[in-house]
Symmetry: C2
Subunit: 319 residues, 2 copies
């Protein structure tokens, strides 16, 4: 339509200075008229990076992961990468299928919240950089970004102990999850150091199951006087159960949780929690990946551990 060869069109597309302005104009006009858009797919076929990164998280409607995803998306956009979002739902098989699909689509890199289980399947994918975050992988190493789970859990448990509680239960998510394990370790360390007996109950994987678990816990002969909820989801379930039982926080049951959330400070009493920097987590993971993609970094896996922070409000018994 512009009476030029494809080569010239390509040059116009790439702002090659040695196309005569008049020609370029003709080409551009034709493009507009035809609604022509360069085919990015064909471009990456030629060996160009796809400028796409894959993100696999467990659950997008969990605000913690939503915040991670938001940060990742921002970094991606700033660097002109597109983000393919996949949800594993904590299933290793689903995760693997997603990884497979993403690699076949030639994403340039992968960001992953690894599901529980053996990740040696990743050994076959060698040429696409991968950064794990929130949890490390089992059976495979990679760049990884974590938070101080043990320390956070230990400190907040110690805080409950300082309030004079002796029967402090920990309601956790699935024990197969790294974060549950680590927080449990921190909790147990604090309890043991104080000469107290740890009481652990599995509350996950959902708010509903946590609610049921907490209901049962409260129905026991000697219910705990304080509870450490090992994540935001569990915390909400525990809150529901306490509410169902007509009990009050912190007088009947004191409460502390892992992971802060928007409304934690609006609930009455205000919730005492360990805050983990969700946004920073995603940001660091994305940055680590981009370093590899832009070839700014090479070599051995890097591990980054972000600090957690105690947010003492009222549910623990303070104030």
């Amino acid at each position: 339509m512009a009476h030029v060869s494809t080569s010239t069109v390509s040059r116009v597309l790439n702002d090659d200075p040695k196309v005569r302005p008049a020609t370029a104009e003709r080409v551009r006009a034709a493009m507009k008229r035809l609604g022509y858009r360069p085919n990015e797919i064909a471009r990456s076929l030629r060996g160009f990076p796809s400028r796409t990164i894959g993100l696999i998280i467990a659950d997008i409607s969990n605000p913690f992961y939503a915040d991670c995803a938001k940060a990742v998306e921002e970094i991606a956009r700033q660097n002109q990468y597109l983000l393919v979002l996949c949800v594993s739902d904590e299933m290793l098989d689903t995760e693997r299928e997603h990884v497979e699909l993403l690699v076949q689509r030639r994403v340039d890199g992968l960001l992953l919240v690894p599901s529980a289980g053996d990740h040696s399947y990743l050994r076959t994918i060698t040429d696409v950089p991968l950064v794990a975050f929130d949890r490390p992988m089992h059976g495979e190493t990679s760049d990884v970004v974590l938070v101080q789970n043990r320390v956070g859990a230990r400190h907040i448990t110690e805080h409950l102990i300082e309030h004079g509680h002796e029967r402090i239960a920990c309601v956790g998510d699935d024990e197969a999850l790294y974060t549950t394990q680590e927080r449990l370790i921190g909790y147990r360390a604090a309890m043991r150091a104080a000469g107290l007996e740890p009481i652990y109950r599995r509350g996950g994987p959902t708010t509903a199951t946590a609610r049921a678990t907490m209901r049962e816990l409260l129905a026991e002969p000697h219910p705990p006087t304080a509870v450490f909820a090992a994540n935001n989801l569990i915390m909400v379930g525990v809150l529901h159960a306490i509410d169902d039982a007509g009990l009050r926080v912190p007088d009947d049951v004191a409460l502390a949780g892992f992971d802060d959330f928007e409304l934690a400070g609006l609930l009455r009493p205000r919730l005492t929690v360990v805050r983990q920097p969700a946004g920073l987590l995603g940001e660091c993971a994305a940055t680590l990946l981009l370093e590899r993609l832009e070839a700014k970094r090479d070599g051995p896996p890097k591990k980054k551990v972000l600090p957690t922070e105690l947010v003492i409000r009222e549910s623990c018994g303070c104030r």
Copy 2:
């Protein structure tokens, strides 16, 4: 490596029955050994659909959109589509850039929460189906999925009126947003019908701005005795401001909001809201898009309006 031509490899890849099993085995073995993975990009170059859909939302860390996205992701996965997630941040330019990128990557279809402003730029993209949801587009038609914004807002305002309030303010998001406009219309209709004077204040775009707006509102000579918060974000900001002022809900200020959220029933008092089916919204939008993609449907744009539901709890003054 398997001593066969690329055609045979291709046939093995596509489970062509007329490859000798022994040959197929040899090929598969070679694939495994080489860590070979079919290049999905090359495949779509040949004119095959990319089995990818683009999703553009305003803000992933708003639980409402997170729930929409979750539903979309589920539908996509069930139909073996991959999802490219983009965030517009309510900026039309950002949205347009995303659309452009997605079209260049040859996504099969587009799911869009349109930003405020003129969408006639979409006129140039004709061959990729698009479904708008949460809001319709301005200056362009398309399949669209909405909720009953006016009716919901009117009903909940009427409910506040039934509680005997006369100075009922509406704190809304940006007036440029369709949902704000519609909810405002519903609110005004209810007020006018009761012979009351509407009081509108812009609270958006963030929780922080809503908090400030509400603070100012409470500092006025004749502050409202009830407030209708036009979305979840605004609601939280309003709650903060009331808290800051040391006021109590519903005695000092009655409250009702648009959009339910997980903790609305755990806050004290429990929040009265208009519930909109976020998951269903995403699901319907995705389904509408898939109908077009799978060529089950063709022809004129379809509009779907989902019902909202009053969830009367306590912040309005009930109980």
